[in-house]
């Protein structure tokens, strides 16, 4: 499988395309360097489980270790609630993206907009278009997607990966962040 082609074969953007996260340290460095990161978690995260561990648990760990606010979209919130984790906000994906685009937005805590948005778990084509909107109209915002497929409109994206490799990479990011 080509690693840095769009997962949806025909959804070809460019000229500007996402850099690949070829090892967890890259994402880790991006997150560490961010002053105000935020994680946007879509309902697709609930579909993934590797060796008995749901990927949403890794995201919760990432958020806790990095002290990163989480925005839960759609019905993702229910899973967070079941795990005793409170997202910073529940907002539709298009609403949080529309706010991130606004450089004057004060953020969820009133302290200013974010400089890094980490996306995971949105439907592929919806995340593709939302990241496109941010690529073109939010120049000050860096974006990463932690999905297991290549999202060319992000600033940084994993290449197309197997679920097992992807889960290992996410775990690697979480582990590094805790060091």
């Amino acid at each position: 499988m080509p690693m840095n082609d769009s997962w949806q074969t025909a959804e070809i953007p460019g000229p500007v395309k996402a850099s690949r996260i070829i090892k967890p340290e890259i994402a880790d460095a991006l997150i560490r360097r961010a002053r105000r990161p935020v994680i946007i978690v879509g309902h697709g995260i609930l579909e993934y489980e590797v060796e008995g561990r749901k990927l949403i648990d890794s995201i919760i760990e990432l958020a806790r270790k990095g002290e990163i606010p989480v925005v839960a979209t759609a019905s993702t919130n229910r899973e967070f609630m079941d795990r005793g984790f409170a997202p910073a906000a529940i907002l539709p994906a298009v609403d949080i993206a529309n706010r991130l685009k606004d450089h004057e937005w004060k953020g969820l805590d009133g302290k200013g907009n974010y400089d890094l948005a980490i996306f995971v778990g949105l439907p592929y084509s919806m995340e593709w278009t939302i990241l496109s909107g941010l690529k073109h109209f939010a120049p000050a915002l860096k974006t990463i997607t932690l999905d297991c497929v290549y999202q060319p409109n992000a600033g940084w994206s994993f290449p197309n990966s197997t679920i097992k490799d992807w889960a290992a990479s996410v775990k690697g990011i979480v582990d590094h962040l805790g060091e």
């Binding site: 499988m1 997962w7 949806q8 074969t9 025909a10 953007p13 460019g14 000229p15 500007v16 879509g42 309902h43 979209t73 759609a74 019905s75 919130n77 229910r78 967070f80 609630m81 906000a89 529940i90 539709p92 994906a93 298009v94 609403d95 993206a97 529309n98 706010r99 685009k101 606004d102 949105l122 439907p123 592929y124 084509s125 919806m126 278009t129 939302i130 496109s132 909107g133 690529k135 073109h136 109209f137 120049p139």
Partner: protein, 782 residues
Amino acid sequence: MGRKGVNIKIGELLSDLAHFRDLSITVGSVNADTWAEPMGPTPFPSLTSFRNWDRVLLNRYKPFYLPFCDLCCLCTYGKCDLTGNKRGACGISMAAQQSRTVLITACIGAATHCSHARELLTHLLETFGRDLPIDLGGTNIEVEAPLIRLVCGIKPEVLGDLEQVLDYCENQVTQLLAVTHTGQEGDALDFESKVLHAGTIDLVGMEVADIAQVSALGFPKADADSPLADLGMGTVDTTRPVILVIGHNVPPSAAIIDYLRAEDLLTGVEVTGICCTAIDMTRYSAKAKIIGPISWQLRYIRSGVPDVIVIDEQCIRADTILEAKAIHAPLIATSEKNCLGLPDRTLDSPDAIVDDFVSGKETGALILDPDKVGEVAARTAIAVSKTRKRSGTLPTREELIALAKKCTQCVLCRRGCPNDLPIPQAIKAAGQGDLSGLDELYDDCVGCGRCESACPQGLAVHSLIVSAAERRIREERYTIRTGRGAIQDIEIREVGGPIVLGEIPGVVAFVGCANFPRGAREVAEMSMEFARRRYIVCTSGCSAISAGMHRDEEGKTAYERYPGSFEAGGIVNVGSCVANAHIAGAAVKIASIFAKRPLRGNYEEIADYVHNRVGAVGVAWGAMSQKAASIAAGFWRLGIPVVVGPHGTKYRRLLLGRADQDEGWYVYDARTGEKVYGGPVPEHLFFAAETKEEAMVMVAKLTMRPNDTSKGRAIKLTNYIDLHKRLIGGMPDDIHRLVRTHADIPVTMKSAIETILAEKGWDEREIPDPTLLAHMVRKTKV
């Protein structure tokens, strides 16, 4: 009203000037206005007539552009890279390019509906004459054409009056399309304003089409008890000859039924249909059967059941000719807009065409005469059904397993699937004899066939899915209430007050195509949930079909469970795509009939009324087409929000409000002229939901209006909060923005909400008499 193209013939005229014999004069148009209502400010509006109103809306609901392509390739300067703040060789920005593309899309949609209306009207005028009265429901319908009255300022009385309306629409669509030429418009918001104008024209064109066919073809006339028709592949009696019609323009299908009826063959032949032609065919005769929405084309044809396939226009697969050939079913094309390379047999005798089909000499023909289509299709179906082997192209179980073993697990099928369905895993299991995975995909598959185009092994992946779901297909036996057409004036009078005051929580219209993110059942589930909650639910087009393709726990379809009347708890199938005009028309009629606002050429005032008072929301859950875009645009300009599924972000922009910015939600209080905070309602004008659950919660919120009474707002809040707690989890965090007074708080949630309000530092505020138009203020203070 005025008459277009009046012919005057005088046998002999003796005057001082001359002596004329057999004098014939044709006058372009004659104004003979019999409508007493004074003309409003904007009859036959131009591209800029509502620019100010559009700016009011677009300032509140700013476009959020989501480029689907980073380049422009519309002229030979290009391709131009518009990434970020770059501009193209013509100077255009990315924002303007996106809105330009939206305008092109909306123009295609509006042109398609207007062209459909023209083809239909021309045929009906030839058949029934200009003077056929427009009759949408006898004395139950006095406002027969609310959109034409509103936009054009005329009151059509007979079929011929509609020509003038279409002349106007065609003129506007041409001008709108010209706007998209290189070097014309350059401002994104001006493009957007024109998108809204395309939507307005689209609504008028659709109204022309549906009121013409309802008046002329004996469709149900605003009948809440219109008959139920069979729906689903399992309803077809395959021992009989079977005709399949696909498309939107009903005259050829009606002619098939006419022929069969005249020959006393109607009960012996199955007339089945897909998409809007099917809906309109059941309005013509409830004995016809609907197979499914557009996504059922491949699966039904490949079943081999249809003996003859008749296509007209719109949403028909471009490869239908190949699919028809594969099952040895003759194909008849009937529209100048969709000839498919077929030989034109319009002037040939039916005998000759039927002979060529039956002998196999010809596999398809273009026939541009509906009556001839009726005869040829019926006779051919009867003849070929006696000899044709109905095996179709679907593999048997054994063949399926053998084919599945050829799969190399390259995953290109999944990467081609719009819904990212786990096809490779299902095929792998099938290769091991387990068909359950493929069977489960059937419900979620949108039937596009991209998986097959992607497969390097040449596997007919879609056929594998359909074959595995053989049992489900046999059980596809549902019902649909045939499209009723308009909403009666008396219904509007009865529900107008409760809707405007908010006591009926809202009108939710499920419209549009079948590009659903997780299958058609989600439309059925949503429509039944809102009907159960006492909303008025309207359906149309493929969504009307999908709404019927599900049974509840008692085994009833939506149309068997809920009444077809425009009342709380009703599920109202208005008809095909063009019948969407009746849904917009109902909102307009609430302003006109219930609130007695002047209608004639008075667009802005009516739109302002609808936006601030009528809690209507459109849901195009599987919106796919350009027509869906133009339909939505027509609703946006009336201030009615539209929710689409996740694929809807591909329409390149959303129109989103910012609830967190109070300054965007001020309205004039028409009583005092003061600008007051009206709250973020409705919060968005065009919103894409990620899941069905998110859509349902958003729909409940988007039905709120500044004008809601406290009782009404409490009912709407109850539904919003209840759905949020159940589907999203927990209390919504924007309650303080939606509660205006203590009386708004639902009694059953009083304690919890008051706690939230106290935490947020909430203050009570007055409920305004809301308007966004300064000139609607009764006491001039602005």
